[in-house]
């Protein structure tokens, strides 16, 4: 992709703007009177029109102009933002997207959309009286530092910042570069400075009043931020004569100031950087080994320094790659809107934990599975309103998309309050497919897991919505490829929940390096609960029944030596590494625990795609290779062994 082609830059910007417009419109269906939303949509349309004309997207500019005019009337309070009007603009927004992306967008389609829009505007024409104009807002940039003895003399920075916050919307940044090193630091002196971007209707003197007691002794700069971007974007015809034009620039500026500190980088460059960091981590662990076997203290010091830096670099890199899951969740609101329309069901969609952060690659690869799961929830999970009323539920079905971090994993849940899974039908399907013998007893959990089996669909009719190629088995595989797991719970008549457990990042994990026979393996550290000694007595006693007793609980264990058929005599001091997937635990018997190891994961080749015991490989500091154990798989195997042994008595 070219970074300097203006048309390409515009296309990217247009995508963001259209996103902003779409979000605003969707929010508006819940909060029709919200001025900020109306302003946000209007600003989006306005900028889209202006920039479009500037970069030669004339058709887009002309089309957007009509929508902007319609929305200007909403903004001025002349027409109400009725659902019909919002829908008309939403439909028009799709057309704009096509125009911006240079897809085929016939004039006739555009004209039809505009005709709909006109009708909607006319129907919405008799809105209430316009609201009182909002007071004029100014954005100030305030930089201040307090005298060194301020803290001793009873001046506290926090109440000052709180007072600034009371004046208006405020973004505060502490400037720490004057803070001396620890040895030179006098803890009662104030070395911090602050930069505050404040958007307020108050005059500059109100800001000075905040600092009244210290203003003579401190450094204080107050600048008015001059509006540019929004106000100066060219319009096609209509000069911006309306009185609000000047005001709207200020808050937009405040946001722009914050956005100015961010940088857009193509994702592949981040991936390259990540690869380099990975190589560095490997090189560093080689250095560490060399240094460890050397008597040269300087070499050791440098090695330790490099280790620290590499670790920090890795952590920083991780943070750079983390993006909030709201990016992903935001996309589904449109999906729900369309699903509700197509199914004729009433759907109340809500999201939780949108600020949860995940690796960018993981977020992208979660999109398709989630689309499928949400479609399923809307299509198969939720009942039509009449059926819901008949079973004593509220007519509107609920779908909740949630995310939360739990250790080194993020748990994403899709919950609906629909009819739940029909066990009888799943059972019938499973028997038909030969997955389970007729009449065999299986647990409810196991029954539900059949849903993820290839070619398993309980829907009697494949609808246009859910029957689109990917099945739950594909969803499951995608999640497992992310080193995650999927689990369904469901209560008949009350609803279902699908929980996805996804590791925070794909590239690097902390691992526990162990030895079994001659070979070394890595166990992902977040899965490790504890390590215990397996004494020879215990070892002998447990032959045949592989359990150890841990604080009165029986934990099944797997002898990796046997699993990997090392063919060597067992060693005297074996260790049990107890790993868990959250619910279930299993012990892994190893010969030696070598220590923790930062692991850059290298995927196994396609040739080994069906190997389930290992999730990848890594290169060790001495150049050797260690395989990374797939804990989810091993725990499941351990639990199966547990079940068999219990069944066998």
């Amino acid at each position: 992709m070219s970074g300097s082609d203006p048309a390409e830059i515009f296309r990217q910007e247009a995508q963001d703007l259209l996103e902003q417009i779409e979000q605003g419109l969707l929010d508006m269906s819940n909060r029709p009177g919200d001025r900020e939303l109306v302003d946000s949509v209007f600003r989006g349309l306005h900028t889209l029109k202006g920039s479009g004309a500037m970069f030669g997207f004339d058709a887009l500019a002309a089309f957007t102009h009509h929508c902007e005019t319609a929305f200007d009337r909403v903004r001025k309070g002349e027409v109400a933002a009725t659902p019909a009007l919002v829908s008309a603009v939403l439909a028009a927004q799709d057309h704009m997207r096509a125009l911006a992306e240079g897809r085929e967008a016939p004039q006739s389609v555009g004209d039809a959309l505009l005709a709909d829009l006109r009708l909607a505007v006319e129907a919405a024409g008799d809105a209430g009286a316009p609201e009182a104009p909002t007071p004029e807002l100014t954005t100030f940039i305030i930089r201040f530092s307090l005298p060194a003895d301020a803290l001793v003399n009873g001046t506290r920075p926090l109440p000052l910042l709180d007072e600034l916050r009371e004046l208006g919307e405020c973004a505060v940044r502490a400037i720490t570069d004057q803070v001396p090193l620890l040895e030179a630091l006098n803890p009662v002196e104030c070395h911090l400075a602050w930069e505050v971007v404040l958007t307020t209707s108050q005059p500059k003197s109100a800001i000075e009043d905040v600092f009244i007691f210290v203003i003579d002794d401190m450094k204080l700069e107050i600048e008015v931020q001059t509006p540019d971007v929004v106000a100066s974007s060219p319009s096609i015809d209509q000069p911006q004569a309306h009185p609000l034009a000047a005001n709207e620039a200020a808050p937009a500026e405040a946001k722009a100031a914050r956005a100015g500190d961010t940088l857009r980088v193509p994702a592949e460059r981040l991936d390259e950087l990540m690869d380099r960091v990975g190589e560095l981590v490997i090189a560093q662990s080689r250095l560490e080994q060399v240094a460890a076997s050397s008597a040269d203290p300087h070499l050791r010091a440098v090695s330790e320094e490099i280790e620290r830096l590499a670790g920090e670099l890795r952590d920083t890199m991780m943070v750079v790659r983390m993006v909030p899951i709201s990016q992903l969740f935001g996309r589904f609101r449109r999906l729900i809107h369309d699903l509700a329309r197509d199914t004729g069901k009433l759907i109340d969609f809500s999201t939780e934990g949108e600020t949860t952060e995940l690796d960018k690659t993981v977020i992208e690869r979660l999109a398709d599975p989630l689309v499928h799961l949400i479609r399923n929830a809307a299509d198969h999970g939720l009942e039509p309103s009449e059926a819901r009323l008949a079973s004593g539920k509220a007519p509107t079905g609920k779908i909740t998309l949630g995310a939360r971090q739990s250790g080194a994993e993020v748990i994403v849940t899709i919950t609906d309050d629909g009819r739940g899974v029909d066990r009888a039908r799943v059972r019938a399907k499973a028997e038909e497919a030969g997955l389970v013998a007729a009449g065999a007893t299986i647990s409810d959990d196991e029954l539900l897991q059949f849903i993820f089996h290839p070619g398993f669909s309980t829907a009697q009719a494949v609808t246009s919505l859910s029957g689109r190629g990917v099945g739950m088995d594909v969803v499951k595989r995608t999640i497992e490829n992310l080193r995650g797991s999927i689990k369904m719970t469901s209560r008949p008549g009350e609803g279902s929940q699908i929980a996805l457990r996804i590791p925070l990042t794909l590239a690097i994990i902390d691992g526990l390096l162990v030895r079994v026979g001659e070979a070394r393996y890595v166990i992902p550290l977040p899965a490790v609960e504890e390590c215990v000694e397996l004494s020879p007595e215990q070892d002998l006693r447990s032959t045949g029944r592989s359990f150890i007793t841990l604080r009165d609980q029986l934990v099944p264990f797997i002898r990796l030596r046997e699993l990997f058929a090392t063919g060597q005599a067992r060693e005297a001091h074996q260790k049990v590494v107890v790993v868990s997937t959250g619910e279930d635990r299993v012990g892994l018997v190893v010969d030696q625990i070598l220590g923790d190891h930062q692991t850059v994961i290298k995927a196994l080749s396609g040739f080994h795609a069906d190997v389930e015991t290992f999730s990848g490989a890594t290169i060790l500091g001495d150049g050797g290779v260690a395989l990374i154990l797939d804990i989810a798989h091993l725990v499941a195997a351990g639990q199966r062994q547990d079940a068999q042994l219990r069944a066998a008595g």
């Binding site: 803290l151 009873g154 001046t155 506290r156 109440p159 002794d217």
Partner: protein, 121 residues
């Protein structure tokens, strides 16, 4: 609740301050001059000290200097009352270690506003 010490030789001013701040839920302790104020605040324990400057026995500036010299009172906000909106007095008081001031005469609302300004909530 935060304890506030008010140091003033005028009982009526002390009363005004006490009533206004007690209404806001603060616990108010009184002292009649700088020496008494210094004695009561010597070991710290107050969230805020409000003091007059012209007082018998020990004046406000001396009291502030003495308080700041004691580790227990480092960082405690000290407000002084002043009838003069005199720059000179303010500079002296701040040099002595005062945090801010309140100009007499004041109404209770002004007092409460200034107290809340310097007290971290």
């Amino acid at each position: 609740m935060a304890s506030i010490l008010t140091v003033d030789d005028s009982a009526s001013i002390r009363m005004t301050i006490k009533i206004a701040l007690a209404n806001e839920g603060y616990n108010v302790v009184e002292a009649g001059d700088g020496a008494e104020g210094l004695a009561k605040a010597a070991d710290g324990g107050f969230s805020l000290i409000i003091t007059d400057l012209n007082m018998p026995v020990m004046d406000g500036l001396t009291m502030i200097r003495n308080l700041r010299a004691k580790p227990g009172n480092s960082g405690v906000p000290i407000l002084f009352l002043t009838t003069e909106s005199d720059v000179e007095i303010k500079a002296q008081a701040k040099a002595a270690g005062a945090t801010g001031w309140l100009t007499k005469p004041f109404i209770p609302e002004q007092l409460v506003r200034v107290v809340k300004k310097v007290l971290a909530s």
